[in-house]
């Protein structure tokens, strides 16, 4: 165990200067214009074990906004120009079912990366990613079940629903790159460690679709790329 740790530390020490040398960053902010749809309240009264976990009313999360017209939960990633990455990160990403909601609402992962699905609730869930390009599956997960382990092989934005609780909804963003970010509550994102080159940056919002911008990185500069989506009232 210790030798493994030392090895990992050594590896990190060797790799980190290589990455930071001449590595640029793309950062920016996601905003919207217009009036976004009002998010609807979610009635969980049929599932008391979940309802009691929420002290404030729970709403849908198709459009999550912040102050100054910013948009959260937007997936920003390098859709073209990224150095080839044949292998997925070894670390798994985790998707948690808690209080009859998906946390996070939008989860990005690399193709082939391990996905762990956790049920932290006292009720059964049935996770059902509605994949069209990947293989579609659904798995039942009673309370206390150990995390499920899955992976997706192809790039796709997969809507996820729970077959038991109709209001539970989320997304998997399965990408061919590990250069991705999900905009924070104040709409910001950052894609670090980009070697010099020409890139296409794509921003995806579950209700508003995708937008792309091209950017050229030279040296270790930080380029600002902002996206603005047109909001729909309904």
């Amino acid at each position: 165990m210790r030798t493994k740790l030392v090895f990992v530390a050594l590896l990190a020490f060797m790799v980190s200067p290589a990455l930071s040398f001449g590595a640029g960053t793309v950062s920016g902010k996601i905003t919207y214009t217009g009036t976004p749809a009002k998010q609807k309240p979610i009635d969980m009264s049929k599932e008391p074990s979940c309802a009691k976990q929420h002290t404030t009313p729970v709403t849908t999360e198709t459009v999550v906004t912040g102050a100054n017209n910013t948009l959260a939960n937007v997936v920003v990633y390098i859709s073209a120009g990224a150095p080839d990455e044949s292998s997925a990160p070894a670390q798994a990403v985790t998707f948690t079912q808690k209080g009859c909601q998906y946390i996070p609402h939008v989860l990005a992962m690399h193709t082939g990366q391990e996905l762990k699905v956790v049920n932290a609730d006292q009720t059964s869930h049935n996770i059902h990613p509605l994949a069209k390009i990947n293989r579609e599956w659904n798995k039942s997960q009673p309370p206390g079940t150990p995390p499920l382990s899955e992976k997706f092989d192809k790039e796709e934005f997969v809507p996820v629903k729970c077959n038991v609780h109709p209001w539970m909804h989320g997304y998997f963003a399965v990408l061919k790159t590990s250069h991705y970010a999900i905009s924070s509550d104040n709409g910001t994102f950052s894609l670090p460690n980009l070697p010099p080159g020409k890139y296409t940056i794509t921003a995806w919002q579950e209700d508003y679709g995708t937008q792309t911008q091209d950017v050229t990185i030279s040296g270790s500069e930080t380029k600002n790329v902002d996206f603005t989506f047109k909001a729909k009232p309904y």
Binding site: K40, D43, M44, E47, T123, S124, V164, H165, P166, Y234
Partner: protein, 274 residues
């Protein structure tokens, strides 16, 4: 040995009748009685249920006692004793039994038709509150027409559960649907008739509220309706009683009977949330 068996049959019949008559299991809190009726039509259903129980119970006891009597009477029959035909044949007895059972069934049917027709063969009053109920795996959702009193049209292709659009409304193009109120609980005012229009989103389901004495299936492809008036404020469970899939055990909602003022406030609150 045969006589002992006859006594056992007699005792079992008597014992099994006791919990039915007393509506509870001895020495425990298990009650078989229906909960208090909170509807205007429920007493007819309850009368019908007790009539059926009394008639079926008496027939059951009579049959068991006759069985025990024959077991007692013929328990000493020798193994090689001759089996005699019934004196004069059993034709008369069979006809009598058929007439008796037939009359009983017919009487129950004719009497019960009244209770049933009160809900199913009469239309709801014009001023009844209109509520639409949709059953889908594995939850009930309810829709009120909102301030304009009109339900927006349904577009199944617009159903988007992640966006709480369970009914498939199209508020972008359909003005009627914009003020429709969609909820997960069925709130109704006390002492006002409710016209519940029911449809299934996917498979067969059922709407059952014990206190209302209403149990009506949702059938895919059919628009069914029931109407009822609740007479007691309270929160009651609506359960699905038609096996509909993996989450069936968990498919429920609540019926919330409110005073008129509370109902108006509830409606206002829900309208502001839409």
């Amino acid at each position: 040995m045969g006589k002992l068996f006859a006594v056992i049959v007699f005792v079992i019949a008597l014992l099994s009748a006791i919990p039915i008559i007393t509506h509870s299991w001895f020495g425990s809190g298990i009650s078989f009685a229906l909960p208090e009726d909170i509807s205007t039509h429920g007493h007819a259903i309850d009368d019908q249920l007790s009539d059926t129980m009394v008639e079926a119970g008496l027939s059951f006891l009579a049959a068991q006692f006759v069985l025990a009597f024959f077991v007692w009477k013929f328990s000493n029959r020798q193994a090689n004793a001759e089996i005699k035909t019934f004196p004069g044949g059993a034709k008369g007895l069979v006809i009598a039994a058929l007439v008796l059972v037939g009359t009983e069934m017919l009487a129950l049917g004719i009497l019960g038709q009244k209770a049933w027709a009160a809900v199913y063969f009469t239309p709801a009053k014009p001023d009844a509150i209109q509520v639409q109920a949709q059953a889908g795996q594995f939850a009930f959702y309810f829709r009120y027409p909102g301030a304009d009193g009109k339900f927006g049209a349904l577009h199944p292709d617009k159903i988007d559960e992640g966006n709480s659009n369970f009914f498939g409304l199209d508020p972008a193009n359909d003005v009627d649907s914009r003020d429709d109120i969609v909820t997960g609980e069925l709130a109704i005012p006390i002492n006002r008739e409710v016209h519940l229009m029911m449809h299934a989103k996917d498979v067969g389901h059922s709407f059952y509220v014990r206190e209302l004495r209403i149990q009506q299936d949702f059938v895919p492809g059919l628009d069914l309706s029931v109407h009822f008036t609740a007479t007691k404020v309270g929160k009651y469970e609506i359960v699905c009683t038609q096996l509909c899939g993996l989450g069936h055990y968990n498919m429920k909602a609540y019926l919330n009977v409110l005073s008129q003022e509370d109902f108006d406030a509830w409606m206002k609150q829900k309208a502001s949330e839409q």
